[in-house]
Symmetry: C2
Subunit: 440 residues, 2 copies
């Protein structure tokens, strides 16, 4: 993408309304714009990151055998009366009356709707196990939305729902998502630690929150430091191997890890002192097993191999991609701006033309740009007539992992500078070497 033809409205001044660093940086980097309280438009740069986050989430859901569908945003109130949650949910639910005065709502979650769908089609244990997920916009009418997309009213959610004949099968489905979540966050460059969690309004008796450590995190967390060095299960993990998967989950839950709500200071004290980690954390995922909590009121049952009817055992599994974009920034930034992990960077590479209008510099940039694009690399070419200092600042602010600085001086020696955003190191290399390094 040529910056001169792109829409990247960078703000030089720090927006006053933003209280946390991810919100400030997302506004300054032209990633989002507030449209109403807690409601944001995703500008082109922000949308690119959001899409990359979703793509990783999707790949790992699919790898674990979950199947994607897409439920609507508007739901009928009657559906929520069946589960009894219509009154429970309180003012956070955005309630709507349509032109015929029918009571509707903007869905904050989808346990009811997915249970109704499965009830409508699935009659036999032979159709199970089943895990259905979607990635859809949801709404929670927070009384005081703030922190940008980190806690917005309209937000994007990946929610998966598993359906099994019995508790044992449901545990396997839970374990699949547990491992899928470990892989998902790891691929985004995050170290997420599964912690025993409260189940809240979703219900159930087995639940883990996936927490990343960040000094600006909202909650206090306590865990064994060994979690930080644990190897995440590989892409070749056999999700159908029940015992193997349970073994992986056991390895990831045997050491102490808890949020402050579930903190047990004796258990924490039993960790050898140098390995005790008390820090701040951000929740990036939450998984639940809740048995028949929704299938029972909805009458979602199947005929088992024994010929009898069985209530389906369910779990649900959430990741908020829009919130995750903010969490990624909270976990990875410096004074100059965002430091994107490569897998979720809006563009992996930036080309900075340090003397636009100089024919040799322009030609070298055009050549590099064409070759990187042909190699399938996401590249943002700063071909504007801004001065070099402003281009450096913008590329660092928006966090491009690799920046190729092209100017007449180094070009005269047949070189360009290759800069790594993460540590600021620069190297003089030939354009051919740049290409080789970035396509390796």
């Amino acid at each position: 993408m040529r910056l001169s033809r792109y829409f990247l409205p960078i703000l030089r001044e720090v927006p006053k309304e933003a209280e946390i660093v991810s919100h400030r940086l997302m506004l300054r980097a032209g990633m989002v714009r507030q449209e109403s309280a807690g409601i944001y438009a995703w500008l082109p740069l922000g949308l690119r990151v959001l899409n990359k986050v979703c793509a990783i989430v999707r790949e790992e859901q699919n790898r674990a055998g979950a199947i994607e569908l897409l439920m609507p945003t508007i739901q009928s109130a009657d559906l929520w009366r069946e589960s009894g949650r219509y009154d429970d949910y309180g003012k956070e639910m955005l309630r709507i009356r349509d032109r015929h005065e029918r009571e509707m709502l903007f869905g904050p979650t989808n346990e009811e709707m997915i249970t109704e769908i499965v009830r409508g089609y699935v009659k036999s244990y032979k159709s199970l196990p089943l895990n259905l997920y979607h990635i859809q916009w949801k709404f929670r009418d927070e009384v005081r939305p703030r922190f940008g997309v980190y806690r917005s009213r309209e937000f994007l959610m990946k929610d998966a729902y598993s359906f099994d004949l019995d508790a044992e099968g449901a545990r396997h489905s839970y374990n699949k998502m547990f491992v899928a979540y470990l892989r998902t966050f790891s691929r985004m460059g995050l170290k997420a630690i599964p912690m025993v969690a409260d189940t809240g309004p979703i219900g159930g008796n087995l639940s883990h929150e996936f927490i990343i450590l960040a000094s600006t995190g909202e909650s206090e967390v306590f865990c064994h430091a060994d979690y930080l060095d644990k190897a995440v299960p590989g892409a070749g993990t056999d999700f159908e191997d029940r015992a193997g998967l349970q073994g992986l989950v056991d390895q990831w839950t045997e050491l102490y890890a808890a949020t402050s709500e579930k903190h047990d200071s004796d258990a924490f004290g039993a960790i050898p002192e140098p390995r005790r980690l008390a820090a701040r954390g951000i929740e990036v995922g939450h998984i639940f097993y809740f048995g028949t909590k929704y299938s029972a009121p909805f009458g979602a049952k199947v005929q088992g191999p024994d010929g009898a009817e069985h209530m389906i055992h369910m779990g649900s599994y959430g990741i908020g991609p829009s919130r995750l974009v903010a969490a990624l920034i909270e976990a990875s930034h410096d004074e100059a701006g965002i430091v994107w992990p490569e897998a979720v960077a809006p563009f992996r590479v930036g080309i900075l033309n340090l003397k636009t209008g100089d024919s040799a510099t322009d030609a070298a940039c055009e050549d590099l740009y064409a070759r990187l694009v042909a190699a399938g690399i996401d590249v943002l070419y700063d071909d504007t007539d801004e001065r070099a200092g402003a281009k450096f600042a913008s590329a660092d602010l928006i966090g491009l992992p690799w920046q190729i600085l092209v100017g007449p001086k180094s070009l005269a020696a047949g070189k360009v500078e290759l800069k790594r955003r993460v540590d600021g190191t620069r190297e003089l290399v030939s354009p051919d070497d740049v290409l080789e390094r970035l396509t390796a």
Copy 2:
């Protein structure tokens, strides 16, 4: 995808509530499920088609230089008061009050919001031209929703908005979208004819509807039959070549084409009789140039090269991907079910195991499946224990363009049957030849 692990709830009986063929077939093929009046969940098979439609739309928008962002579904009523459309819109607008009694709405279109965004950032003609688009769920509270996703209340829309310094620039932006739309529909296997159209509530004085012919179409259309054989502009079209693009648009508008609302029987009568085409059509896209209708009330202006302030000239450009899925079926089906054009088929290839459990048949299917997947082909492998007749019926109902029938008899001769959905032709070929044919 193995059918045994997929979620494809096929209905054998014809649903009574469905009045038009696309609605019947989408319900029977397990593509969608109604959740409330005019509100549908997209089941996995339907979502695959919707995603393929969106991918083509997106590629052609990007090719024409449009830039993707994503605006929220919920908008503030105040935004619509600025344009004066809040009261105009009537009961089709889904109006909402949040917990603080603020007036909100579920966006039916985005002229107001995008104008507010551009007003907030764009100050100079140097930032123009600009074309911003998004693909987002919208809501129109139809008094009597019916025909499934063909006329639903919650629907997916690609809407693009162009911003130019003057009318001449805006005409070029309009022409870019005109050509992009020709290419978009053509890539989906549709012959879409641009027809002069009313501008309705969007406003403006230049507008085309893109209409496909289908016997079940909602409107009467009249055009020169030469449109059916016209070659669509190629992928190499230079969208920056103003004169060239205007020439293409002129070629596509010089012959008579009009919907009944704009019909001129004298002009139609002037077409040589054998080339007069009166038929039924479905609108699949609509483009508008409306000058300063929104920029003026919003004060969206830029400084021009002359130093003076200029109101921005705008256009908007819509395609409804969810409705388009239904239109594709209206245009392409037979008594056995849907006949998908390959580019939008949920799976391009089906493998039908005609004797599941027979070791040679299973092995041949597994081998073919593995090789097709490795070649990057979307394939649905029917590995269930249904009888052969049911498998034939399902594959035809869901419209798989290529079906590989694998049974013991032909396998004994080293062959499988390759069936084309579009004409039902079958050919006995070796598995190696199947692979070569489908990957060619």
